[in-house]
Symmetry: C2
Subunit: 450 residues, 2 copies
């Protein structure tokens, strides 16, 4: 087999945080083969320098400052392909630079309106704006579309689709009553569910506002891993057309948590503790108990008793155990001088839900299909479980980073030629992606029912 | 008495909607005396032309288009004093123009961050940026500060302050089960309470998030008018320092509604019907019953039964009567082709809660003080009730427009000289304002207790 020659490609990765490790490893390990030069830009240049030390000839670390536009432009100008691993709200500026300067871009985040607005110009310039190409969104799109296309190829018609995903902690590292530790951006976990979930059930539009998203849960069973809580996630309806599910009477995407998590998290939502819209001044002069009390009606009983009265049927011994674990009724002062309720809660949880040395995280995904084939109604489940290696090489980093890295490689090596805003739902994108993920141990188990 | 000579002042009023009628009448009626020329700018120029017909020598109507920056600048450039009666979020651009072009500005709206940012430059240029000078905020500040200063002048110390206000319907025009009709911007009524209420109770910080603001109500008694529901309104804490209430252990501003209104409105909040963050496509193909159902869990019972099950103890026959009055369980199609839940609800309520010909509205305000004087704890209530003349000359228009008009007059005639961002809490602003309001029949009744 003769070695193929690739033109040199300069890849710029912006953001080398928690979720970027597998992406960066993949790019570094394949740089020589595919003739890439990798520039990794991060505010913490020293940490990145350690990563590229053994790859001096194919990679470099540079400083990045999100407020320095000139630096951003210069870095983008020098590259051929940009990967933005920044928080989602920062992609817009990077994307505008990319399209203006004629560079391809990939992110693992949801397609924003800003991104959509760049679609036409990107297509005209033959630039790829790849999005939603991580885990969820990402692997979920790819793996669901593979099955949907298979059913349709057999002449079947998908009438119902539900898809769930959660970034959790592996059973062997599950040592707190919440069954949760942070394997990705903690802020996103604290604010999860804000907005209104939109989906379709029995052919009807359904909306669940944030204030009751953690109460309207369903239970999902995953073979070998037991039951999980699931709550509806964002706007599922908008995927009906892109997925080609015109006849689906049910269309729901959801988020998974360990059983009991949602009932306990609902206490924070009902209290108002996940609010990020205002700051509490001098919060370091208050205890967490004061914070809880500030959201409760006045009365001559203890804060814990007030909370129990306030929550009524929505609290029980298991919920209280979870709250006690967080020392919420202790006289422990808060550390932030000024923080929103959400920031103050995050500050505490980052300590309590830390992925410790040796801890393993776990990704769980499940698709549920209902379809009609030859006059029969059939059901199909497809599940994925990935366990992390340790607290750095997490299942989250793998499943977010690898689909992105693989798809960038497939684009740069000419395996597909799509331009403008793309998500991994077309065969030419998802087929080689899922094949390679399977080789890397990320594979789904299907079970047909009925 | 010799007539005083006033230099000509050109006053520009932007926005001639519902709440502007009394302001405009006052300015027109006093234009000759004070040597004013009044320019009234509105998108509906024809309607304004009718208003200024009898005042041709002192007033003119001009077209206004909020998207036409050049027009806005030209109008502001030609004036000496600008009154913005636009929706609050539009004041920022007007204010920046005013400060840049050297013009005074007045609004009835809350001081925004954008306004605060202009304070320094306005002070340097000796420009007034008068805000919160309508009813609530406005008359509430002025009348509360008068009593606070009186108590402090006697050597007393205010330890508790609560203030409530509501724009309601007069008893003689109250012919629907909600006891509510629109006397001001309906959109503000639909979105009322969104965000988090912040106040102080028994010396403790208290927060109530939107999802339960209509459930944590208290009952207020106003002599001769009976009981009202009150719920906490926005950030009360930020007025503690400006009001000089350093020792107050209670500090709460609230909104009044007829008894039972809050319990019924809570159904909309809990459902998610007041959400304005997303649009429902093809909403004109749905009925209001479909809309309600889209927020309820699925089940084989009627929508009304589902709602009753969903609300549990939070619904009763009186609430149901209010919902039936709105025809929410009828198969009546919605009119908007695409609307947010809040917009779809507003569209219905604008029809059901219309202030009909001859209908009178009613403003109710009550302050409750607790103070210490000569070692004794005392209580003082101060209440205001204003009934409108008819559906155009409303109590709302009077109580929003007159304090603003009077204070503009007082500034232009040199009764006070304050610059930068001001709200009516200093004696030089509130004293002449309250005196003149009293002459116009807007006066408080005080009752000392204990």
């Amino acid at each position: 087999m003769s070695e193929k020659f690739y033109f040199m490609s300069k890849i710029l990765v912006i953001g080398a945080g928690r979720s970027s490790s597998s992406l960066i490893d993949y790019l570094l390990n394949h740089a020589k083969t595919y003739h890439w030069f990798i520039t990794i830009a991060d505010t913490n240049k020293e940490a990145v320098e350690l990563k590229v030390k053994e790859y001096q000839d194919v990679a470099e670390a540079v400083s990045f400052d999100v407020h320095n536009e000139t630096l951003r432009e210069t870095l983008i100008q020098k590259s051929d392909f940009v990967v933005s691993m920044l928080p989602a709200f920062m992609h817009g500026e990077v994307a505008r630079d990319c399209v203006r300067l004629g560079k391809h871009l990939a992110t693992a985040s949801y397609v924003s309106q800003e991104m959509k607005d760049l679609d036409k110009e990107a297509k005209e310039k033959k630039l790829l704006l790849l999005n939603e190409c991580g885990l969820d969104p990402g692997i979920d799109h790819a793996s669901a579309m593979k099955i949907i296309h298979e059913i349709q190829d057999k002449g079947g018609n998908v009438t119902g689709f539900k898809s769930f995903c959660g970034g959790l902690v592996a059973p062997e590292s599950n040592d707190n009553p919440w069954g949760y530790k942070f394997s990705w951006n903690p802020r996103n976990v604290i604010l999860a569910g804000q907005g209104t979930a939109q989906f379709i059930e029995n052919g009807k539009l359904k909306f669940i506002p944030y204030n009751r998203i953690y109460t309207q849960t369903e239970t999902i069973e995953v073979d070998g891993y037991g039951a999980f809580d699931a709550y509806a996630n964002r706007d599922s309806i908008s995927y009906k057309i892109p997925y080609g599910l015109n006849d689906a009477r049910t269309m729901l995407r959801g988020t998974l948590r360990m059983p009991g998590y949602c009932k306990a998290w609902n206490v924070f939502v009902k209290l108002g503790l996940t609010d990020d819209t205002y700051k509490i001044k001098n919060s370091d002069s208050l205890t967490y108990t004061d914070l809880i009390e500030s959201f409760l009606p006045e009365g001559n009983i203890s804060v814990k008793e007030k909370l129990i009265a306030f929550m009524g049927a929505d609290i029980d011994a298991e919920v209280l155990e979870k709250l006690e674990y967080l020392e919420l009724f202790s006289h422990r002062r808060m550390k932030l001088k000024e923080g929103s309720p959400a920031e103050l809660l995050q500050n505490l949880l980052e300590e309590k839900w830390l992925l410790k040395a040796g801890d393993k995280d776990m990704i769980v995904m499940q698709h549920q299909f209902e379809y009609e084939l030859n006059g029969m109604t059939k059901k199909l489940k497809s599940s994925l479980v990935v366990i992390g290696d340790d607290e750095v090489h997490t299942a989250m980093a793998k499943t977010v980073g690898l689909p992105l890295a693989i798809t960038i490689k497939n684009f740069l090596t000419g395996k597909f030629k799509s331009y403008g805003v793309q998500i991994p739902i077309s065969r030419e994108i998802y087929e080689p992606m899922l094949q390679e993920l399977e080789q890397l141990g990320i594979c789904f188990q299907e079970s047909e029912q009925g």
